[in-house]
């Protein structure tokens, strides 16, 4: 009964993957890929070049620059996602009035499609006509060219991604919190444990399974968060906010398309994430988690 699954997966994922890896070992571009369109016949003229593309990428300063920023961006975003998500979940996990209203409001950013969110924020950040600068001016402070300077642009995209990503973390954490039996807390209270001890010894271990899953997911998503970066800054100013995936896209889709170069970028990104996932799993195993 597994056969259909294997076939579908092989066709949908396996074949493009194999093809991508093969392309990354050639020098295929839009100009060297053969095709016939109406009266025009273009012969295929690309060749096998082995690991040439990989060597080019790994020896360019650009790749390391982008990798450092991508890692920084991922760590900053996932850290904030997790911290804020957990904090909000703890706040919402208590009995209070209007609890469902707060939950709804906090989940809203998640319901907004990323490209809509990106455009809204881009307007807010606009240096001459944006709402944020209008508020700063009204408060007597100077306007800031949010998306016009590498440092502020990085802060700006991280802020938007945090805004978009916190709700998911919050909901996941809430689910985790509600699965911890209340008796444990009661027993701890009877034994005289302080709130901090209760959090440290009941909540944290109880959330471990959920946490490890959402952090891994969050890391992969953030690492490849294409739409926000692409739509808010387009990778600019210069190419300072360009992460690995947006750069690979630029490589693939500007001018005469470089299929082989972008496939090599893709394979490298994939390998980075595979390595990350393996290391992560091993670390969890060490802590006695079963995956």
């Amino acid at each position: 009964m597994v056969a259909p699954v294997i076939v579908v997966t092989a066709v949908l994922i396996g074949w493009p993957l194999v093809r991508g890896v093969y392309l990354s070992l050639t020098d295929a571009t839009e100009a060297t890929m053969g095709r016939t369109i109406g009266v025009n016949v273009i012969p295929s003229s690309y060749e096998f070049v082995g690991f040439g593309n990989y060597v080019d990428i790994l020896t360019s300063g650009l790749f390391w620059e982008k990798l450092i920023w991508t890692v920084g961006w991922t760590v900053a975003c996932v850290g904030l996602h997790y911290g804020l998500g957990l904090g909000l979940a703890l706040l919402l996990n208590r009995k209070m009035r209007l609890r469902s209203v707060y939950r709804l409001l906090l989940i809203l950013p998640w319901a907004v499609p990323p490209f809509v969110a990106a455009f809204i924020w881009r307007y807010l950040y606009n240096s001459d006509y944006g709402v944020i600068n209008a508020m700063l001016k009204a408060a007597g402070l100077g306007a800031v060219g949010w998306l016009d300077d590498p440092t502020t642009a990085k802060i700006a995209v991280i802020a938007v991604n945090v805004w978009v990503g916190v709700p998911f973390m919050m909901v996941a954490m809430l689910g985790g919190l509600q699965s911890i039996p209340g008796e444990l807390y009661e027993a701890a209270e009877v034994d005289g444990a302080t709130p901090w001890q209760r959090f440290r010894h009941i909540t944290v271990p109880g959330l471990r399974t959920v946490s490890s899953t959402v952090v891994l997911l969050g890391t992969i998503w953030t690492f490849n968060m294409f739409p926000l970066i692409f739509l808010i800054t387009g990778g600019g100013p210069g190419s300072s906010t360009e992460i690995l995936v947006t750069y690979a896209y630029r490589e693939a889709f500007t001018g005469i398309r470089n299929y082989s170069g972008s496939a090599a970028w893709g394979v490298i990104i994939l390998l980075l994430l595979v390595v990350l996932a393996l290391v992560y799993r091993r670390a969890l195993r060490k802590q006695g988690e079963v995956w």
Binding site: L17, E30, A31, R35, G38, L147, A248
Partner: protein, 432 residues
């Protein structure tokens, strides 16, 4: 997301390979140019799709009206009008043409895209077809953009270049009756406007194309195609970049927004927050919607200010190109022919001030009656033709990144042209 982004290119490539492997696309239906095509309108039939890239609100209706006219004349041809934003059309067309599915029959192709599409085999050669009629009537500079390897792959639709657009009222308040003719004057006028009226003198748009007038003005350029030489790292260009940087640091222009630069500069002009911008005829219909220009007379149009060498701006514009895999070549030829007649061009010029590419269209009273076109015509005659090479479209990104770091104060003029030069050497590996 990851897998999708990663495999999009490969899927496209795989599809293309599969398509071409099975004999692919649509071949054999029209191998020879259709010179024998009946000139009798009722004989030609079929449905064609046209990707237009004009602004749908201010320019679209004029082209839609022309299509209606065309369909009345050719009742058996159905034209499907699709408006694709100009910043997406190139990418979309490449994807569709490469995959052999979803490409339009006719596309409005930017002058710099045309040679690229042609080199990739996406465009139908038009020599000797009905699409290209009375070729000698076209202005030489726009016509040069349709040629690739000695064949014609497109028909010039409109031409344009950059000019200095200014708010006459604000300049008058600062004591100027005429637009500045040189970059030194530009700085002085801008500073005076700022001092006397309180609004900004000049709004810069941080875009590579808009940097070219400063380079040409000092006698600089990006490439020397004949000699296969990259010429961007030259003293002339360093001087040009220093001029631009100085406009910002001296306060003649406020520090420009980098993100949404074009829109912000346009808004500033339209709302009277800035007195001068660099822009082309395509912007006029939008500018006239602004509150400062309810009276069209208030908008001044002048050649771009000259540098120490000359005044020069790049030749831009658009062409009609036909997809080589079109199932309805005859109908497409006829459509392109109709759209590029002097009469059709005159109608477009009269209504939305886009400049005709046919010399004879300028004799049309309708065109002569449009003041903007009359003003732009001499500016067009001095426009600098760019090198129409397949890699032309890749020249802008490095230049844009350099411009951004220049106005951001992150790099000196010398460093900026040097970094652009390095990136160009990555594109043109065998050039000196």
């Amino acid at each position: 997301m990851m897998r999708r982004a990663f495999s999009a290119a490969t899927i496209v490539a795989a599809l293309a390979l599969a398509v071409s492997a099975c004999g692919g696309g649509d071949s054999g239906s029209t191998a020879a140019p259709a010179q024998s095509a009946a000139a009798d309108p009722s004989k030609i039939s079929g449905e064609i799709t046209w990707w237009d890239t004009v602004r749908p609100d201010s320019e679209g209706p004029t082209f839609q009206a022309l299509i209606t006219e065309f369909q009345a004349k050719y009742p058996n041809i159905k034209v499907k009008y699709v408006n694709v934003p100009s910043d997406q059309a190139q990418n979309k067309f490449q994807t569709a043409a490469q995959a052999g599915a979803g490409a339009p029959d006719v596309i409005r192709s930017e002058v710099a895209w045309t040679s690229q599409f042609a080199s990739l085999g996406y465009l139908q050669p038009l020599d000797g077809t009905r699409a290209l009629e009375n070729e000698s009537d076209f202005l030489p500079s726009p016509l040069s953009s349709t040629k690739y390897n000695g064949k014609s792959y497109a028909v010039p639709q409109v031409t344009d270049t950059l000019a200095l657009l200014y708010n006459k009222k604000l300049l008058k308040e600062a004591g100027y009756e005429k637009a500045p003719a040189t970059v030194e004057e530009l700085k002085k006028v801008a500073l005076d406007v700022k001092a006397k009226t309180g609004v900004n003198g000049l709004a810069l748009n941080v875009d590579a194309y808009f940097l070219l007038p400063f380079m040409y003005g000092e006698g600089g350029d990006l490439l020397d195609v004949q000699a296969k030489k990259i010429t961007v790292n030259s003293p002339a260009n360093v001087k040009a970049m220093a001029t631009v940087a100085d406009l910002v640091t001296s306060g003649a222009a406020p520090k420009p927004a980098i993100q949404d630069s074009y829109a912000n500069a346009m808004t500033a002009l339209k709302d009277g927050k800035a007195a001068m911008i660099y822009n082309g005829p395509w912007a006029l219909s939008e500018i006239y919607q602004g509150k400062e220009f309810q009276d069209k007379e208030n908008l001044g149009i002048a050649p771009v200010p000259a540098g120490s060498a000359k005044a020069g701006a790049p030749t831009g514009g658009w062409n009609y190109a036909i997809y080589a895999g079109s199932k309805n070549l005859d109908a497409s030829y006829e459509f392109v022919r109709f759209m590029s007649t002097p009469e059709a061009q005159a109608k477009v010029a009269k209504e939305i001030s886009l400049l005709p590419t046919r010399a004879s269209a300028y004799d049309n009273p309708d065109v002569q009656g449009n003041k903007d076109v009359a003003t732009f015509k001499p500016i067009i005659d001095t426009a600098v033709a760019r090198p129409w090479i397949p890699e032309g479209g890749q020249l802008f990104q490095p230049l844009l990144e350099g411009y951004q770091s220049l106005v951001g104060g992150k790099s000196s003029p010398e460093d900026m042209v040097k970094s652009v030069d390095e990136k160009y050497h990555g594109i043109f590996k065998d050039w000196s």
